[in-house]
Symmetry: C2
Subunit: 400 residues, 2 copies
């Protein structure tokens, strides 16, 4: 019966803000995020759960009178623009389902459900704002002053939403026993290799460097090839080379240039400035930093060769997060008992579990993403895989 | 005395719409273009010149009663955004100076000065609109319906400017004898090699192809390097390789990617679509088309290698323009008589002379651009070089 309740809740709530053409548009605290928050609160009320908010707008629900020392489960319900239905939402609805099960069959553990605000960070940067505030990683004033594309401050939107609660309600003050986040893989490995469950050792190191290649803008026609200082040629050679460098180290590292800005970007003008962001991730922290240095040297060589100047700034760097070993073992045990094929992996994306890991024993449970697609309307996980993940979550809670 | 008058006129009028910080912002028919047009008309009135406009807003001035069968001199006064003071303006003010000389010393030839509308094409595309209409290359309705960034139609702005004249005033109807355009080189060759004057054989072939590389967007972290279809890696490899191909053929060809658009352009997302414009120019028409095919094959190989699909459309192609040989010989003779070091070159940028060449015997005279800079506030040609070019123009007119 849990299965039917879960699928009904998931299909109904995950479709809020969804269209076939554009996927999910449920950026933090927008109209659709407010709708899913209210839908969640509606479900929690039905089962007599307490409902509270902290000063980041995180939503907490519990069936227990004493909310301290709980096992926290949950994730986030916001999405990137044109995102998928499964990212984040799966973990929250699964957590809700565990509470519903307790409501029907009796409370077996001290559990608390959480929906974190603005995990994605697409509306206000940086990401993981809700968990960052709830765990004390972020300074509240800093997050409150962040502005979105329409120049709206986070604090103003939060206040208007009605979800601003008290600082004392932060998760950190509740001294939680554990945090378990159930999430889609967002990558292709589990499906490709035929596993039902992924058990992350932790979250990989993520270094983001901002590069600027500076050349000289000139009319494209009258400037001979040997007298050019073309910033885009420099950036292109750099992108090609780092791709080769990263490919040779598969599967230990990934390097991505997702964002590039070319100035002045006129077809008949040689580009003078190219700015790009290089994202390097590896479970091996040293390998990540070593590669960041190697490719910087490569960039300097390319710039020298082409008569360009180069500038590199470290955008940010998050070192490898390692989850709680005992909790990982319990997830492994749960998979074995349920006869589910599992694989130890790393999470190559950040999650709220990263900050929760700083204040309590934390782990994640992952399920396959079809074709590895995520942050797109094509994002998909099967009912079977979702139910398997939910079963593992329940079993782990019982094993704690 | 011509020299002082020229420099005074040039320095005064070319600075309209100029700031040190942003260069010249005198896009066609904007407030500053209107100001320079009125300044030009003011000067023409002082010397008793006729003043007329055609239906493209081109301005004509002549000291002769019979305006047919004239030698046309001039260029354009509009600029690109953040452009330089010399491009176009030099040819117009030099032409004005020849008329002023005739006014003072007596009319020796049937001359007509022209200022062409929207040569740059930055406000309304395509470029060369004034000369294109005046020579019958463009359909008037097509040009009239072009809209700028603010959705303003060319015809509406032209009407409001007061510069819309009659179709019968078009240059083509005056059956001109010659067209001579004095212009800055916009490239580094003359200065680098120590020449005062460049005599273009003509204007190079210009092929512009629109490429689209299509891959698959995914979360940057969880997608291993070997399972990616990164459109930006494909485009980058393409840009690097065409640069190498073009460099090997220096100075016979140039290839430029000035414009690139990366989708979705988010640092943490593998790019799914990259659109770019490839501009290929060569005096040798066959070499240009051959290279366009070679690099297309190269793009297909890269796409296949990376699992991308590719799309190529021909944006446009302008074949090589060859100027009048007799007129070129007269320019050469003028340089010799003036003891000026000259070089036969090609114009690697388009000019109004390209369309004028379709209706009359046409040639250009070019002077050095400091460091080859153009379409930027750093654009500069020395007084000495400007005066040398003016002298050649006058001598050529006397030789005709």
């Amino acid at each position: 019966m849990d299965k039917e309740i879960f699928l009904e809740d998931f299909n109904r709530i995950s479709k809020i803000g969804w269209t076939k053409e554009f996927g999910v548009n449920r950026e933090a605290l927008n109209e659709f995020d407010i709708k899913v928050r209210n839908a969640l609160i509606g479900e929690l009320k039905k089962i007599g759960s307490s409902i509270s908010f902290d000063d980041a707008g995180n939503i907490y629900g519990s069936l227990n009178e004493n909310e301290t020392n709980a096992i926290i489960i949950g994730s986030h319900m916001d999405s990137v623009p044109n995102g998928g239905r499964f990212d984040g939402m799966y973990g929250v609805i699964a957590g809700l389902n565990v509470l519903k099960n307790f409501h029907i069959n009796g409370i077996r553990k001290n559990l608390m459900l959480v929906d974190f605000t603005n995990e994605e960070g697409s509306r206000w940067q940086p990401d993981l704002q809700g968990s960052g505030i709830a765990t004390g990683v972020f300074d509240k004033e800093f997050i409150y002053s962040r502005i979105d594309r329409e120049n709206k401050k986070f604090v103003d939107v939060l206040k208007a939403s009605g979800f601003q609660g008290k600082e004392e309600n932060r998760i950190k003050n509740l001294n939680p026993e554990h945090f378990i986040e159930l999430h889609i893989e967002q990558g292709p490995v589990l499906e490709k290799e035929g596993y039902s469950i992924g058990i992350p050792y932790g979250i990989v190191t993520d270094i983001v460097d901002f590069y600027t290649f500076i050349g000289e803008s000139n009319q494209a026609g009258p400037t001979p090839m040997n007298l050019r200082k073309d910033a885009l040629v420099g950036a292109s050679r750099f992108i090609s080379e780092i791709n080769e460098i990263a490919k040779k180290q598969t599967p230990n590292i990934v390097m991505t240039v997702g964002e590039i800005n070319n100035i002045p970007n006129i077809y008949s003008v040689i580009p003078s400035i190219v700015k790009l962001k290089l994202d390097i991730r590896s479970p091996d922290q040293h390998l990540a930093y070593e590669n960041a240095s190697i490719v910087y040297e490569k960039a300097k060589c390319i710039a020298e060769d082409l008569g360009l100047t180069i500038n590199k700034e470290r955008g940010w760097a998050l070192n490898t997060t390692l989850f709680d070993e005992d909790l990982i073992k319990k997830i492994e045990k749960a998979c074995k008992e349920l006869d589910l094929k599992y694989k130890h992996i790393y999470s190559w994306a950040t999650h709220d579990a990263m900050y929760m890991n700083k204040i309590t024993s934390t782990a994640m449970i992952m399920i396959p993403s079809h074709n590895g697609r995520s942050h797109t309307k094509e994002e998909f996980s099967s009912d079977e895989d979702m139910i398997a993940g939910l079963k593992v979550l329940k079993k782990v809670i019982d094993l704690i």
